[in-house]
Amino acid sequence: DAGITQSPRHKVTETGTPVTLRCHQTENHRYMYWYRQDPGHGLRLIHYSYGVKDTDKGEVSDGYSVSRSKTEDFLLTLESATSSQTSVYFCAISDPIVAGGPPVSYNEQFFGPGTRLTVL
């Protein structure tokens, strides 16, 4: 399972409340990702991190922020949850393969167990 855990696994919250999801990995992987999965949309990238304190936006980043203060933890925060953020959230990790240049994430991703978030 690549040593990835997510917490909480399930959460129900109300519109307007802040929510933080945690992804924890034990194998020192450099790259970490947050995705959301919704019926009919597959997986969509929210944010990703390529190292401690290095993060970047994905395709659906509005309403989300992330932080990575240490290698093993990648936090996803919904500052003010909305019903449209009801979804299943997956964390993933990978490692870069250096091919004569800056490290890039060419390797396959391994996914955590997911967090089911319901915003009422």
């Binding site: 009919g40 949309h41 597959g42 997986l43 395709e59 997956f90 994430s105 060419y106 996914f111 997911g114």
Partner: protein, 110 residues
């Protein structure tokens, strides 16, 4: 902008039959990935295809890549019920982000 399209999105088939899932992607990509997801579970990596003509096989599943046609296929041989799942393909875009297709829900009837 890289887009990944799978077809079919839903597939119901009999045990013992063969079938193919198609994955088209819109721009050049260096990597093509296939994942499996069981209901309520996480995604499991099946194959990573790295170059034109690449073919990988695991049991009854075989994946191939044609970079000129921007097409990958996942072929199922003599399907069994245990292969019922949702299969995702994904491709690496020029910004090194992995873009997923919407998935193919495969239901194999006994």
């Amino acid at each position: 902008e890289l887009k990944v399209e799978q077809n079919p999105l839903f597939l119901s088939m009999q045990e013992g039959k063969n079938y193919t899932i198609y994955c088209n992607y819109s721009t050049t990509s260096d990597r093509l990935y296939w994942y499996r997801q069981d209901p309520g579970k996480s995604l499991e990596s099946l194959f990573v295809l790295l170059s034109n003509g690449a073919v990988k096989q695991e049991g009854r599943l075989m994946a191939s890549l044609d970079t000129k046609a921007r097409l990958s296929t996942l072929h199922i041989t003599a399907a069994v019920h245990d292969l019922s799942a949702t299969y995702f393909c994904a491709a690496l875009n020029r910004d090194d982000k992995i873009i997923f297709g919407k998935g193919t829900r495969l239901h194999i009837l006994p």
